[in-house]
């Protein structure tokens, strides 16, 4: 009997340990553990203050402004709920477009503007010929109407 009890106790211990580990992992994923923060998180004060971090979201349509004669650009990053203005001096990646995904690294100023030191384009996992893409776009527009 005794070795059997030992075995049962061992199994119980293992199950309990795995349970604890899973609970801890789930707890971690409820909090934020991320490559970038969304504008909503920034607005809720979950992002670091006075330290470099990354924000991610979509470039708001019609928000891209280039300063004349320089490489400085301004645009707004949004996650449709909240949005944050970003200014950046440098070369933008090819995939940087209004309405597309972007991840910017930099600091949040006291005026609420995010000064980026690096801008990365985040593209989605869709690949298709341009005709197909425009067809889908048309279809979505007609659905919205």
């Amino acid at each position: 009997m005794k070795p059997r009890h030992k075995k049962l106790a061992l199994i119980a211990l293992i199950v309990a340990a795995i349970g604890v580990a899973v609970a801890l992992v789930l707890n971690a994923f409820n909090s934020n553990l991320v490559f970038f923060f969304t504008p909503t998180q920034v607005a809720n004060g979950e992002a670091p203050i006075s330290r470099a971090f990354r924000i991610g979201g979509l470039v708001e349509n019609g928000s891209l402004k280039r300063q004349e004669g320089g490489l400085t650009v301004g645009f707004v990053v949004t996650d449709t709920a909240k949005s944050i203005p970003v200014s950046y001096t440098g070369v933008l990646p090819d995939l940087f477009k209004e309405g597309k995904g972007v991840v910017a690294e930099g600091k949040l100023g006291s005026d609420g503007t995010f000064t980026a030191t690096q801008v990365l384009a985040k593209h989605d996992e869709n690949y298709m010929p341009p005709e197909a893409a425009s067809a889908i776009e048309q279809a979505q527009k007609s659905l919205v109407k």
Binding site: F29, L33, V34, F35, F36, T38, G56, V91, L92, P93, D94, L95, F96, K100, V103, Q118, V119, L120, A121, K122, H123, D124, E125, N126, Y127, M128, P129, P130, A132, A133, S134
Partner: protein, 244 residues
Amino acid sequence: MNLYRYASPSTFYPLAGRLAPWFFALAFILAVIGLYISFFVAPTDFQQGEGYRIIFIHVPAAWMSMFIYIVMAFWSAIGLAWNTRLSFIMARALAPTGAMFTFIALWTGAFWGKPMWGAWWVWDARLTSELILFFLYVGVMALQAAIDDPRRSDRAGALLNLVGVINVPIIYFSVKWWNTLHQGSSVSLTRAPSMAHIMLWGMLIMALAAWMYAIAVAFVRARSMLLERERQASWVRELPEGKA
């Protein structure tokens, strides 16, 4: 019993020798078809223009890097459980190819990331865990190379493989679990692929070519290892290769 017969080196050696050229041929044909589709049939992408064509090697290489590790771990587990020499040899024969595909996945990823994202490298979860996979491959090979006794070397490497296999699901699911810069997977079992069909076909054919190549190379390497290991055995001495 029958299985044991195939697991015996003296049966495997000639069998692998006969099969390897076929796999090489298949790999070559598939690669030619795949490359033709990649460059001449698949259309330009709506977002990334022609730059997306890196996908035709990046994704197959990344798949192979993870898949080969899993296969290696599988053979390692079999070897440790049943003490079959051939499975250790298979695990060893796969490691360099796996490391090569991991390197290709990292390299092509960098060459794809630079124009599209705007950076050669970022430390997000997907990229970091793939880099760790590369280190794991190198670590296993270094450990096996450092141990002289073949039996210990096989088993120690196998154990390390099994420890490292935890990393594979982390790589695969990293894009789901964390906000990464890397896009999600285009191909998934649970939903329709988010790719135009012809692009998908090109990618799948290239992946198949990579498979065939990996199998062929593993066979050839396993054969060389067997010759080295078992040069005392009578079946090796009777091989025509050994005759002067």
